[in-house]
């Protein structure tokens, strides 16, 4: 049974359940004072005579005006813009915008507060792309599809030129290079039908149908939901030559292949910083997913951007089950908060480590400790330095740091700044140090008394009844039975929640000096579902 069959069965069953007389019951329940009186238009003969006379006068006097009016208000050409925002512009023969319509919510956001009707096409296109860049929909290496629907070739060429000028003006203003593909349509009945069914632009529909025509194993309904960049990515994976579907704009040398654009951005950033950045493929490994999985996903977005002077890879990809978003430092592969996480962090107080600890948690402010750690550049100090700072702080107050265990460290964005949260236990006490990621200042230290026999049961469940990430990491580390501190200070730990399958699990990966470990920890029970250890032939790449 396919999903579609199932949908149809559910719908059919539901329809049968609705009683036939419900509407009458509803109407009967509307209070009388709410029932509108139907307005009956009176028909008086003299009114008809007057109207007829007026019509004759208008017809005689206004034929020319009417023709001009019709020309001005008749749609001559429709232009679809697809990035993820999907927008259709209708213009008249004089290139004046008659209407602009958004096909999705991103499109609505782009058009928010823009009044484009009666403006020249070029000006409207510039305003739309200004808005797209400002609202984060278009950045370096974004893929844009422009579709012009007009039967005349000369007219299409002219419109395309105006659009290019309009886009150029906006992108140049923001110093952004994007890849623009052009598609022209003259016969598009099938695309119109498909677009109507999926509420997407005709341009995107034509592109999708063109792909399916070249590779019939593709699912058009599924593709209809993809961003244009994802469609281009699928086409590339399936060996479909995009040039058969669209024309790349060759007028501007900066607009070309997406991979080339990304490479240019990377080289620019490397020159600026004077260091070598992670390659896109290396950055993908920092998501923690294996190569097979990453080869199967479809990338919607893979861009190099800057966050507080740190070059980051912004990734969005789709598997059959879910959408994944990552912001990964192009310098060291550490994770930074995504836009959604930033939003959540400002919308509500960040969840702090003490919430994962048993009752009796206390907090005290520690004195500032000068550090001698070396920063990668002038940004984050790195996990190793953060752990050193935390351990040294405990040493100074007389703790026996030789007994420290269950150490974890993670980068956390609290809505205002990034901090490292370093957690470890020494005997029956759990310490969490919050350390400013930029300069190593200890912001605060939390202390909680724990019992090794109770830690497994006293951690409150998350709202999904899943164990927390730190708990999953600890379970995996304990199971590996290795020296936690030594490993964590040298290498990054990756962990992900996979909740799209029947058995939700945390995937935890880490390396010791000689072995790479890959765990799957049941997200509800904490049971080890899968354990794999692979000998390392070379020291692992990462933070060392």
């Amino acid at each position: 049974m396919t999903n579609r069959d199932l949908d149809a069965r559910i719908s059919r069953a539901m329809n049968k359940l609705v009683p036939s007389d419900t509407f009458d019951t509803i109407v009967a329940a509307i209070p009388d004072d709410q029932q509108a009186v139907t307005v009956i238009k009176t028909k008086k003969t003299y009114k008809y005579l007057l109207a007829a006379a007026a019509t004759v006068v208008l017809l005689l006097g206004g034929v020319l005006g009417s023709l001009a009016y019709r020309k001005q208000h008749t749609v001559d050409t429709r232009i679809d813009i697809d990035v993820n925002p999907s927008i259709e512009i209708s213009i008249n023969a004089a290139d004046i915008v008659l209407s602009v319509e958004a096909y999705n919510t991103d499109g609505e956001r782009v058009l928010d507060e823009l009044a484009l009707e009666n403006t020249p096409l070029k000006q409207a296109v510039t305003a739309i792309f200004d808005s797209m860049v400002e609202k984060g929909f278009v950045g370096n290496a974004s893929a844009i599809l422009i579709t012009v629907q007009n039967d005349g070739e000369a007219r299409r060429t002219d419109i395309k030129r105006q659009i290019n000028t309009g886009i150029n003006a906006a992108l140049a203003e923001h110093d952004v290079n994007a890849s623009v593909s052009h598609q022209t349509l003259s016969a598009y009945d099938e695309a119109k039908l498909f677009a109507g069914e999926h509420h997407i632009s005709v341009g995107k529909a034509a592109f999708v149908l063109g792909m399916v025509q070249r590779d019939p194993s593709l699912d058009a309904d599924k593709l209809a939901d993809y961003h244009f960049a994802a469609l281009a990515s699928v086409a590339k994976q399936r060996g479909i030559d995009l040039h058969e579907l669209v024309d790349y704009n060759t007028e501007n040398a900066a607009w070309g292949d997406l991979d080339e654009l990304l490479q240019q951005q990377i080289e620019k950033a490397e020159q600026k910083l004077g260091i070598k950045l992670l390659t896109p493929n290396e950055a993908k490994t920092y998501t923690g997913f294996d190569e097979t999985f990453m080869n199967a996903v479809v990338f919607v977005k893979f861009e190099l951007a800057w966050e507080e002077d740190v070059p980051v890879y912004q990734m969005q990809f789709i598997s059959d089950e879910a959408v994944y978003n990552y912001v990964i430092s192009a310098i060291d592969g550490s994770w930074l908060p995504t836009e959604e996480e930033k939003h959540n962090a400002t919308a509500q107080p960040p969840q702090t480590i003490h919430s994962t600890m048993p009752n009796g948690s206390t907090t005290f402010v520690a004195g500032q400790i000068s550090t001698t750690t070396t920063a990668w550049i002038d940004h984050f100090i790195g996990e190793k330095a953060a752990v050193d700072i935390a351990i040294q702080e405990r040493k100074q107050v007389g703790c026996d740091i030789g007994k420290a265990e269950n150490l974890t460290v993670k980068l956390h964005y609290n809505g205002e700044k990034s901090e490292y949260l370093v957690t470890f236990t020494i005997e029956d006490t759990c310490y969490t140090h919050s350390i400013l990621a930029t300069d190593g200042t200890i912001l605060h230290v939390e202390k909680a008394f724990v019992s090794t026999t109770t830690t497994t049961t006293t951690i409150p469940p998350t709202q999904n009844n899943y164990i927390l990430r730190t708990r999953a990491i600890n379970l995996a580390l304990t199971d590996a039975g290795t020296d936690v501190i030594e490993r964590v200070v040298q290498h990054t730990i990756y962990s992900h929640l996979h909740d799209e399958v029947d058995e939700p699990y945390w995937r935890v990966e880490f390396c010791t000096d000689t072995t790479r470990w890959d765990y799957r920890v049941h997200a509800e029970s904490g049971a080890i579902l899968h354990r794999q250890q692979t000998p390392l032939t070379e020291p692992p790449s990462g933070l060392n």
């Binding site: 719908s11 539901m14 109407v27 509307i30 509108a36 009186v37 939901d225 059959d320 879910a322 029947d502």
Partner: protein, 190 residues
């Protein structure tokens, strides 16, 4: 079957039509009210059922939703997502009904009422499985998608969930439902 197809296709492709209908209802146009009801009552009922879990309450929600649509249509401001507006009304009423503890009898016990009889054994099994084997959110997402035909991102807007969550829950719900149905069918085999 043809009627069903028209119903499920209507929401996505005809948002402007539904927008216009709501505006007309705001002016007291009963024909528009009837027309809107014909278009979306199955969707609203299915969605309500996914929350309140019995057809009697679902019909109550359907009635209250349309009364509220009628009362509020004049204040409606078109934003291109009229169904999201309709479903939000339905959801609020259904959740309110749940909170008040208005729930009546479970499906099996109400099936004696003629108007809710599901004659087809397969349909009966499907509805029973839907109502018993899925979480509330999974059921709402599945029914919104199956009955209303609206896209995952619109479902996300109606339920206030991230699109990724809707996607993963939808796929998980489909998987669970298929397995549950197969198990039930195996169980029923002599």
């Amino acid at each position: 079957m043809l009627l069903f197809s028209l119903n499920t296709d209507a929401p996505c492709a005809e948002a402007p039509v539904v927008d216009a209908l709501i505006r007309r209802i705001g002016n007291g146009d009963m024909d528009a009210f009837r027309s809107l009801y014909d278009r979306v009552h199955g969707n609203v009922f299915g969605f309500a059922l996914s929350i309140v879990k019995n057809p009697h309450d679902a019909e109550d929600v359907l009635q209250e939703t349309f009364l509220k649509i009628y009362a509020n249509a004049a204040a409606y401001r078109p934003q291109g997502k009229p169904l999201a507006w309709v479903f939000r009304i339905a959801r609020n009423i259904a959740l309110d009904k749940q909170r008040r503890g208005d729930r009546v009898l479970p499906l099996d016990e109400r099936r004696t009422a003629a108007q809710y009889t599901v004659e087809d054994a397969d349909d009966r099994l499907l509805i029973k499985t839907l109502l018993t084997k899925l979480t509330d959110e999974e059921r709402q997402i599945l029914i919104l998608h199956a009955v209303s035909g609206i896209k995952h991102r619109e479902i996300a807007a109606v339920l206030g969930l991230p699109v990724g969550t809707v996607l993963s829950k939808y796929h998980r719900a489909v998987k669970r439902l298929k397995i549950a149905i197969e198990e039930e069918m195996d169980h029923d085999k002599p």
